[in-house]
């Protein structure tokens, strides 16, 4: 439980001759949601995979509370672009997977917590369903719930709603905001959707094209009460067009 500080310094990565990350410096303070916005193919997934411990940087470090990461860990929950549910497990068993593996809770406590988590994520009543029988939105919520069941201090989200239609995505944004307010978690959200970044982030970082760096950081000035109404807020519209302009001109 609790939250932690996440810091990347000078992270570089190349695949063969493709220089993907050109020295990423970013710090996420405990409990903050940091939205990292970048064009497609700039290396967002690569950066998150390094933060999660799935891949190694060529140079630079990633630290949680000052300790360098090596290898994947339940302390850093990552929801990949395509979701991570195990197709052979029921929803309930998918959500219970982490707590069972880490031994964080006893059997009956896991049952209780998973039931509560299903209620909070609007998946109540689908405990016995297999992932393939759920809708896309439910699957993504479930993938996030699966990771949150471990109460990770750090949450890494890779375009978690990228595959959903616009309306569902907006609902998911409202849902995730509430969820993260209830369970404060240091969150790194990478996306190429400006609305998503501005609706969910406390701070915004802009990534350049390859070799990617974080070229600009902005505090997002909207409060906790964000949702569909925020989209029409003149301040939101102005910030969005400024950000879009910045992204499009590189």
């Amino acid at each position: 439980m609790g939250t932690a500080a996440l810091r990347a310094s000078g992270v570089r990565k190349s695949f063969g001759t493709v220089h993907v990350l050109g020295g990423i410096d970013v710090t996420v303070v405990p409990g903050e949601t940091y939205a990292l916005l970048g064009p497609s193919g700039c290396g967002k997934s690569t950066l998150l995979r390094i933060m999660a411990g799935f891949a190694e940087a060529d140079a630079g470090t990633v630290e949680i509370d000052g300790k360098p990461v090596s290898g994947p860990s339940p302390q850093r929950g990552m929801v990949a672009q395509a979701g991570g549910l195990f197709p052979w497990l029921s929803l309930r068993d998918n959500l219970a997977f982490g707590p069972r593996e880490t031994g964080r809770l006893s059997g009956s406590a896991i049952d209780a917590e998973v039931t509560e988590l299903m209620v909070r994520t609007g998946l109540d009543g689908f405990g016995d369903a297999l992932p393939r029988t759920l809708s896309g939105g439910m699957r993504q919520r479930a993938a996030i719930a699966q990771v949150l069941a471990n109460r990770p201090p750090v949450l890494l989200l890779d375009e978690p709603f990228g595959a959903l239609d616009a309306q569902t995505r907006l609902r998911m944004h409202e849902w995730l905001r509430e969820l993260l307010a209830e369970q404060p978690t240091t969150t790194m959200l990478v996306t190429h959707d400006v609305d998503e970044a501005l609706l969910l982030g406390d701070r915004l970082g802009l990534m350049s094209a390859r070799p990617a760096k974080v070229v600009e950081e902005t505090v997002i000035p909207f409060g906790a009460d964000r949702g569909r109404h925020t989209l029409a807020d003149p301040e939101f519209v102005a910030l969005k067009s400024r950000v879009l302009e910045r992204v499009l001109t590189g």
Binding site: R132, Q146, N150
Partner: protein, 254 residues
């Protein structure tokens, strides 16, 4: 159902017309009588070393089924373990892959002489032959299935806290299960087919032994009964296996 009934009709017509000698293909009613004798006849005389026919259906089928299941069970255990090893470990596959590929290219009949030399005439040789026949499909299917597990599943499990030594149980095995079940079906079919080869090693019980004895005494009707028994039990076995496996692989079915 149409084709088997039509064939039965042709069989009737041909044997009734006397076109084929009884010693080559007896008429259906002869086979039916033999089948009746096989299952419900009165088994009185049993001479040592003679394979009984009348009233010994249960005896022979029981012996064949037990032989088949014992060897099949052993093939599952060995096949899944070696298959996991081949699929999961570089050095195991470097070590064993050439050997497995070479051994599995040896036809079952080619194992028969050496099985007889090593294990003598009888039960052990039969079980070993059935085991060898049943081993390869489940072994290869397990190795292939494990090799095809998506990377993402492994990463998700690692990230959720599964230690490396438990990955095989939490991810590799369940993810590969549909392919393993396909291998198991093939293995069971082969095990059942190999029963007859196994029973050529001189066992005195078993459907294969009965057929062998029938061949020596020229009883084609009894041979045909044996063939029918093999067909029916093979079908039932596959059906049962599919029923047992269904709940475990429902997730992969579309």
């Amino acid at each position: 159902m149409v084709v088997p009934l039509a064939l039965l009709g042709v069989w009737f017509a041909v044997s009734a017309g006397g076109a084929i000698s009884i010693s080559i293909l007896p008429p259906p009613q002869r086979v039916a009588t033999a089948a009746w004798e096989f299952f419900f006849g009165d088994s009185r005389v049993t001479l040592p070393g003679v394979v009984p026919f009348v009233g010994s259906g249960g005896l022979h089928i029981g012996a064949s089924v037990v032989r088949c299941l014992v060897s099949f069970a052993l093939a599952i255990v060995v096949g899944v373990i070696v298959g996991l090893g081949l699929g999961l470990s570089r050095w195991v596959s470097d070590l064993l892959d050439p050997l497995v590929n070479a051994l599995r290219a040896v036809p079952l009949y080619a194992w028969l002489p050496i099985a007889l030399v090593w294990f003598g005439i009888g039960e052990t040789a039969a079980r070993v032959l059935i085991f060898i026949g049943a081993l390869w499909p489940v072994l290869i299917a397990t190795a292939d299935g494990v090799g095809r597990v998506p990377r993402g599943h492994i990463e998700t499990a690692r990230m959720l806290g599964t230690p490396g030594r438990r990955l095989w149980r939490r991810v590799y095995l369940p993810s590969a299960l549909p392919e393993i079940v396909t291998g198991l079906r093939l293995s069971l079919t082969l095990a059942w087919m190999c029963v007859i080869v196994g029973e050529l090693t001189g066992t005195t019980t078993g459907v294969g032994a009965m057929m062998n004895a029938a061949r020596e005494s020229g009883r084609i009707d009894q041979i045909v009964v044996g063939m029918l028994v093999f067909a029916v039990i093979g079908l039932i076995a596959d059906l049962l296996l599919r029923m047992i496996a269904r709940p475990f692989i429902r997730w992969s079915q579309t």
